[in-house]
């Protein structure tokens, strides 16, 4: 078992003929993910790494039993691609693209809410259920199946954490990247709820960072969880008031600070690590406890 995607997941790649779409289609296939079709307007009839390409999502879903789609379209076309996938009936959507306009994200999320679609991203590394399926740009080699659910705001940081777990012999049920933008499809809480219900997941790792109040909100739910939670937080040393890369990471007036997040998570019963290599140890303790 796993959350959101498992071995029955049949994938569509939107933007499959582009550089990233084509490269990561090969990586997903190499991982064993079931990539059934791709879409690229005007390129219907092509093949990319043996995967058939269609002009529209409607045509692809007509001809293949697609369950989810991953989007590698340049930012200005992401809203169009996302609405296309949703209106064609796709219920799980992973949007890798970064720099998607904020208002396009608002439109995408409103439509996803209307049609009950799970959106991962935008600006995410994606999602992987090790040994079952992968929709994303994460390296194939750093995961192994197991009992730990991981949910992260930030991509590379989650690789570091997952890699550390794997190196220490601890596998993952599913690793989910929420995405680094101000508006993304899932919150920590949304994913924590799924992990809480997933019988295979025994411990959950939350990879957060300074800025915003997503971790503080997650803490409210963590209080009610039966499963142990280990959190890692980046940004302890960040100077206040500076914008660090993405919108989440602004520290202002005592909100979203490192200290407030540590306090909220600790009070909720989570163990908080502040160096990446501490996570595996805390998880091991939680698994054994």
């Amino acid at each position: 078992m796993a959350v959101i995607i498992d071995k029955d997941n049949v994938i569509l790649v939107q933007g499959i003929t582009g550089k990233q779409g084509s490269f990561h289609t090969a990586q997903m296939l190499a991982y064993g993910a079931r990539v059934a079709a791709g879409v690229s307007p005007g390129k219907g009839g092509w093949e990319v790494h043996g995967v058939p390409v269609f002009d529209t999502v409607a045509e692809a879903v007509e001809k293949h039993p697609i369950t989810s789609s991953i989007i590698f379209i340049p930012a200005p076309g992401v809203k169009d691609a996302a609405l296309e996938a949703m209106s064609a009936g796709i219920k799980t959507l992973v949007i890798i693209t970064e720099h998607v306009p904020l208002h396009d994200e608002l439109d995408i999320m409103a439509y996803a809410e209307k049609l009950n679609v799970t959106v991962i991203g935008p600006n995410t590394f994606g999602i992987i259920s090790p040994g079952q399926s992968k929709m994303g740009i994460m390296p194939n080699s750093i995961y192994t199946p197991g009992p730990v659910g991981v949910v992260a705001r930030s991509g590379t940081l989650s690789y570091e954490i997952a890699y550390n777990l794997t190196v220490n012999g601890i596998g993952q049920s599913t690793v989910v990247g929420l995405g680094g933008d101000r508006v993304v499809g899932l919150s920590f809480t949304d994913v924590l709820e799924k992990f809480e219900r997933d019988p295979e997941t025994k411990v959950v790792v939350v990879v957060g960072e300074i800025g915003g109040n997503a971790e503080e909100e997650a803490a409210l739910y963590i209080r009610q969880m039966t499963k142990p939670v280990v959190a890692f937080l980046a940004g302890r040393s960040a100077p206040p008031g500076k914008r660090m890369g993405h919108a989440g990471a602004i520290i202002e007036r005592g909100k979203g600070t490192f200290a407030s997040k540590v306090a909220a998570l600790t009070a909720a019963g989570a163990k908080v690590a502040v160096l990446p290599w501490e996570v595996a140890e805390l998880v091991k303790e939680a698994l054994e406890g």
Partner: protein, 373 residues
Amino acid sequence: MKLYEYMGKDIFRREGIPVPRGKAFFSPEGVADFVSGLPSAVVKSQVLSGGRGKAGGIKFPGTPAEAEAAAGELLSTVIKDLPVHAVLVEERLQIDKEYYVAITVDGARRKPLVIASAHGGVDIEEVAEEHLVKMHVDVHAGLQPYFGREVARRMGLPPDEARQLSQLLVKMYHLFRTYDAELVEINPLVVSGNQLVAADAKITLDDEASFRFPDWLPRVEERTEKEQRAAEIGISFVELGGDIGVMANGAGITMATLDMIHHFGGSPRNFMDAGGGAGTEATARALEILLSTNPKAILVNIFGGITRCDDVARAFARVKETVGIPVPIVIRLVGTNEEAGVEILKQQGINAYRTVQDAVARAVELAAGKEAI
């Protein structure tokens, strides 16, 4: 992109939001002439930071000649490190009441959020929670007049002001959506002789949507020259002041890298997120920016995903062979195309690290002047 007040008010005017009579001046010339047509005037320096009033950036001249003098004075000042390039000369409003109203995005709810208060004219952060009205907009419904009436009711406005606020919010929302705004804020929204008037205008547009900004809209630049160079190649760069130059791929891992440097007793010179799949060319230029800050050592922490290790390695090889890398450099390299990347670096005489703590510890040692490997 933050807009200057005068630009925001130009947009307000286009959208039918009432603003005082006014005009922007980039030199004092013509100010006296313009002011002679107004009953009384205010001259406001155009800066992007808040608190310009306390910093002396707003003048209330008594005569047209005084207004022109005030404009000249303000145009030669520097407020919070920024030279004032423009002043806005406006009719001075009679102020009966001051409200606050803004539209922004609530990321947690994934919806536009209207914030309003009958206690305007002050820093909104200082207004008590119970005096704030907050209502989310469903983009499928849009912001309809009823929404404004409900905001007005919760603010406790009388009927005529409620009607005006409702019209105003419909227009603000239209602006917010059509201009790709992150924030549209009016503080204070003034009641002046029974009319609601936007006495200030604060608009921040979403940079990610700049490809569809209107052509007539001037571009406003707030970054330092180095930050600007980094932005042009799609890289986030913030100067911090320590001695270890840092490059990593991803905002989270970069922050974590800074944390680890602190943990080992070091001090980072900068934040540089070269993530998002930067290729060889962009990475090479990012490294050049890093070198231009003269760090004592450089720490590179790459966990390849969409970023490919061989692209990164090739960038280092290129810079080393062309301009050279005159400081000690520590590279941690794992992930997509790792073997190829490690091999390229080896040919340059650089041994890549696999484990982040070893790499960080080594960089801190090197910056502290301990001997190189």
